[in-house]
């Protein structure tokens, strides 16, 4: 019944991490939009300005954590949505590994981009 219902009880690591990352993303996504559209206008973005922000340790750490949490939250969300649509069996396993792979590629490339934004040479 609605009066007694609460889903905030142990339901596994992914379930909890989806909520934990959501709480973090609510704040950081709003901050990201505010900073790069209202404080700095998107059309004024330059590499020099980006580098100035990304060489600040706190900002770099926040943006890198933003990437990691957004990737997890998004990829896990897509997986959950597909399972909700009835995905099961071999296809479910295949989709899981495709999503894990896509998430890893996004994370690796995102970290390379973040490091390059500090001025580091990350060319392969």
């Amino acid at each position: 019944m609605a009066e007694r219902y609460s889903s905030f009880e142990p339901k596994g690591t992914r379930w909890f991490l989806q909520r934990l990352t959501a709480g973090f993303l609510v704040v950081v996504l709003a901050f990201h939009f505010m900073l790069l559209h209202f404080v700095h206008h998107a059309y004024e973005i330059t590499f020099m300005g980006t580098q100035a922000r990304m060489t600040q340790v706190g900002y770099f750490a926040t943006m890198t954590l933003f990437l990691l949490t957004a990737t997890f939250h998004g990829v896990n969300g897509v997986y959950n949505a597909l399972v909700n649509q009835g995905l099961s069996g071999t296809r479910k396993t295949a989709v899981k590994y495709v999503l894990v792979g896509a998430g890893l590629v996004l994370t690796i490339q995102g970290v390379r981009v973040a490091l390059a934004m500090t001025g580091m040479d990350v060319t392969l």
């Binding site: 219902y5 206008h41 973005i45 020099m48 490339q109 995102g110 580091m120």
Partner: protein
Amino acid sequence: MSQSYDRGLIEDFGRWQEFSAGMWAWVLHKFTGWVLIGYLFTHIAVLSTAIPAATGDPAIYTGTLQSLEQLAIVRVLEVGLLSVAVFHILNGVRLLFVDLGVGLDTQDTSFYASLVLTGAIVVASVPTFISGAF
């Protein structure tokens, strides 16, 4: 313990005229989530111009971003991105409260509030997002 119940075939979007506020909240949260994860991949792809920029040609990054920002369609799409992001954030906060058992009896109202607030924030942001593009 929570109780399970037969909610029918929720995947049948042909029933959309019968959808309740909760169903619309569910559909919109999924839709905006798909858009946001899709955009994240695109965003990192565009920002990857920072890699050659770091090794001596910052104009690749600056030029790419500023060229995109000169396109009116990009500005319009950014307003769309803002819309889905703001709704996903506000409805997400609502869902976190619901998970905590807060506001269970006012879920419809809080969903409508999410929609109205999203609309207000987006409308108020339009001048900033399109300035200089038209």
